[in-house]
């Protein structure tokens, strides 16, 4: 008897609501069939069954919320009719291997002690693809595939037996196929992806480079994915990173906690008259093709980059208890990601680009950051970050410094305000620019220089 349990459909999911049953008691189900709809915190998801057999009983009613792992239904598998003693003895590891390769263990002759089926036996057995789906039941009815290896008393994984106490332990023989050990017989999404054998370093690199380990061919022992395999994987470009929102959220959470914990912030704010800048921009836009037309952000970013060059004490990093000025202005652009989290891709040599070039780079960067397809070079540490929430409608943003940087410029919406200009009251487009800075690295006076430099630069837009 197998149990169909509430699957975990994401690292942050600990319960789910069974919103709809798509099967009834007595129905025949095959592995991979959609049997229920589960409502999670995020969305409704169709859930597949990972056993084949007959639905014996539905244990949870529609509309009920239960923790992950709660049995939802009992499924009678046909394997039960077979007495367990009939099953040839084999280790969990071997059963898993057989499952992955669609090998029917009942048909394999065991060459190990006591007729036990060894790894080698499975490797030598010819898979029979036509009958593949039927064979899952030989994996043992009480063993849901997503739980991976489970040891049973008296049996040990085959690999274990090979490590002798001699000076040179023999390595486990390489499996015939270099494909990662995973089953590929199911269609669509599974509650939990099968485990890909990979080295810790490979895992870390895969996360950093946005490579899906399941897509990488492992060349290590037994098909283990190694760092080298991840580095040479084609992924990253093109395919969106898996689970970007969660990872991005977690990364942002860590970084921002660190920032607020370690960095003594101070904040400055100023309003900048954008009349001259916008007038120049509109004139410029008349000459530019539609696709290259400027938005105020391009001017603002360029002004920040130039100001950063003029006030190098805020353009750099805090490292080893000291400020290290950056050699170039590498402007970080805070981009909010769909689904949460922030990315801050960087614009190298932002101070040397023309406003038109900044505009083009900006469009490109934001699009690719949201698509999860940033290049490694663009994720390198910026020297100063700008966060522009003007398009979100707010008038000012007091940001949190991205460590190890020491300053962050926040830009709000450009709003028309009554302002006194040359002793007369007029209506001018104004923007609030703020500076959040690390008080360890700089003082208010230095910060003020950056904001006033920015203001001054925006009054001479033709020189930007």
């Amino acid at each position: 008897m197998a149990e169909f349990t509430m699957p975990s459909l994401g690292a942050d999911m600990d319960e789910g609501t069974l919103s709809q049953w798509l099967v009834h008691p007595g129905d025949q189900v095959a592995r991979g069939d959609v049997v229920a709809v589960v409502e999670t915190a995020k969305s409704a998801i169709e859930v597949e069954c990972f056993h084949s057999g007959t639905v014996d009983a539905l244990l949870v009613d529609e509309g009920v919320t239960v923790p992950v792992g709660t049995p939802l239904a009992r499924i009678g598998t046909s394997a039960e009719s077979r007495p367990t003693t009939d099953r040839p003895p084999s280790t969990p590891l071997v059963r898993r291997l057989a499952q992955d390769r669609h090998v029917d263990l009942a048909a394999v002759h065991g060459s190990g002690p006591g007729g036990r089926i060894t790894r080698a036996d499975v490797e030598h057995a010819e898979p029979e693809p036509a009958r593949a789906p039927e064979h899952d039941k030989t994996a043992g009815p009480s063993q849901p595939i997503h739980t991976g290896i489970r040891r049973q008393p008296g049996t040990e994984p085959a690999r274990r037996k090979r490590s002798g106490s001699g000076a040179e332990a023999k390595p486990a023989p390489p499996t015939r196929s270099t494909k990662p050990v995973r089953s590929d017989d199911s269609t669509g999404e599974r509650p939990a992806p099968p485990r890909v054998k990979s080295s810790p370093l490979a895992r870390r690199l895969a996360t950093e480079l946005g490579v899906d380990l399941a897509e990488v061919t492992g060349t290590g022992r037994g098909g283990t994915v190694r760092a080298e395999d991840v580095r040479s994987a084609p992924a990253a470009e093109g395919a969106p990173r898996p689970a970007v929102p969660d990872m991005a959220r977690a990364a942002t959470a860590r970084l921002m906690s660190r920032s607020k914990r370690e960095i003594p912030h101070f904040y400055l704010s100023t309003t900048v008259d954008m009349a001259a800048a916008l007038e120049w921009m509109h004139a410029r836009n008349r000459e530019l093709p539609l696709s290259a037309r400027l938005v105020p952000a391009a001017l603002l970013f360029k002004a920040v980059a130039l100001a950063a060059r003029q006030v190098p004490k805020l353009n750099g990093h805090w490292a080893d208890d000291g400020f290290v000025p950056a050699e170039e202005v590498r402007l970080g652009i805070a981009v909010s990601l769909r689904g949460g989290g922030l990315a801050a891709p960087s614009l190298a040599h932002a101070d040397t680009l023309s406003v038109v070039e900044v505009m083009a780079a900006l469009k490109d960067l934001v699009a690719r950051a949201r698509g999860g397809r940033l290049r490694a070079s663009e994720t390198a540490d910026p020297s100063l970050t700008v966060t522009n929430l003007g398009d979100q409608g707010v008038e000012a943003v007091f940001g949190v410094v991205y460590p190890p940087q020491v300053a962050l410029v926040g830009l709000g919406r450009i709003v028309e305000r009554p302002v006194a200009v040359n002793g007369l009251l007029g209506v001018r487009p104004m923007v609030t620019a703020t500076l959040s800075a690390d008080h360890r690295a700089a003082d208010g006076a230095t910060g003020a220089r950056l904001l006033t430099a920015m203001d001054r630069l925006l009054q001479q837009p033709e020189d930007l």
């Binding site: 106490s165 000076a167 040179e168 390595p171 080295s199 810790p200 490979a202 022992r221 283990t224 760092a227």
Partner: protein, 336 residues
């Protein structure tokens, strides 16, 4: 890179043997500090079971080069008493196998008195002993038990692997206000090399990188360092760049150095002449996993002695010990 220690046929080319380096260190210590004296079985008239103290009796007299009865517990205990009384004894125990007779003194007195006296009593004692196999001395003279001593808090455990370390380790050990155990690998005594005149002292807190490499870190100590270097040489021929770390101090372990190395190479082979189960190599592997798990690109490999009493027969003895070929094979496995 430091001096390679390899046996030579004619050490009259200005080179020094490991044995002579140790003797020179003893001579220096006896000359420079009146509180230093050497005692042990056969250290006087016989010149030391392994010839380290040959000639010292004639030079320094029986007051300072003292032959002792065959009673390890008694003369190690006497050494502890002398150290407590303000002297700086150097006690020689022939081999680590015999040191077990004095284990009670070493563990229950020397190692613990500092703690049990609330810091009032230190035991500035140096115990020298031979360890390791490779000379067909059979099981009772060939085991590598330094890992057991490295388990004991309160001791400093050293394993000089090079001529330079042999020459300078004693003066550093004598400065230590607490007991220091010096493990001299039996196969190294005849190893010869030119002393590096620029080396004036040994930093007991730091492991030494004997060869730099980028693909795999080979951690070794004592008699296995030269085997690791030999293996690294062979690996270099295959295009595998191995970094060889000589632990030098087995307690306290300088994990910063070997873990730092693994962080760069992402792979590790630990060589230990002790038996694998519960060995120092297990501790090292464990620290690598604790501190650099996410830097590892392959499981850590260990090359240890076969878990048998070390055999007398030469072929069997060779087969039981870590050898360069085994290190090379392990390195290939973690790299390929």
């Amino acid at each position: 890179m430091s001096t390679r220690t390899r046996p030579r046929a004619h050490p009259d080319d200005g080179s020094t043997t490991y044995r002579e380096a140790l003797r020179e260190a003893l001579r220096e210590a006896l000359t420079s500090d009146d509180r230093v004296f050497l005692m042990g079985e056969d250290v006087g008239r016989y010149g030391g079971c392994f010839g380290v103290s040959l000639g010292l009796l004639e030079e320094f007299g029986p007051e300072r080069i003292r032959d002792t009865p065959l009673s390890e517990s008694a003369f190690v205990g006497a050494g502890i008493g002398a150290a407590l009384a303000g002297l700086r004894p150097v006690v020689e125990i022939m081999t680590v196998n015999f040191s077990l007779l004095a284990l009670d003194q070493i563990l229950n007195n020397a190692a613990t008195l500092r703690h049990m006296s609330g810091g009032q009593l230190g035991v500035p004692l140096v115990i020298r002993m031979t360890t390791g196999a490779g000379r067909q001395l059979a099981a009772q003279h060939s085991h590598s038990l330094e890992g057991w001593y490295a388990h004991i808090p309160g001791l400093r455990v050293l394993a000089p692997a090079t001529i330079d370390d042999a020459r300078h380790v004693l003066s550093a050990a004598l400065v230590d206000p607490d007991p220091v155990l010096l493990f001299e690998h039996g196969s190294l005594y005849n190893a010869a090399g030119i002393l590096d005149p620029s080396v004036r002292s040994v930093d007991l807190d730091r492991a030494a990188v004997r060869r730099e490499g980028t693909d795999v870190t080979v951690v070794a100590y004592g008699g296995c360092v030269s085997k690791a270097l030999e293996a690294a040489e062979e690996l270099a021929g295959e295009g595998i760049s191995a970094e060889v770390v000589d632990l030098r101090t087995l307690r306290p372990l300088d994990d910063a150095t070997f873990v730092g190395s693994v962080r760069r190479t992402h792979r590790a082979v630990v060589v230990d002449e002790g038996w694998r189960s519960g060995s120092l190599s297990a501790e090292i592997e464990s620290r690598i996993c604790e501190q650099a798990f996410f830097e590892l690109d392959a499981p850590v490999e260990r090359v240890c002695s076969a878990e048998v009493p070390i055999p007398y027969a030469r072929r069997l003895e060779e087969a039981a010990l870590p050898q360069p070929a085994g290190i090379v094979a392990a390195a290939r496995r973690v790299v390929s």
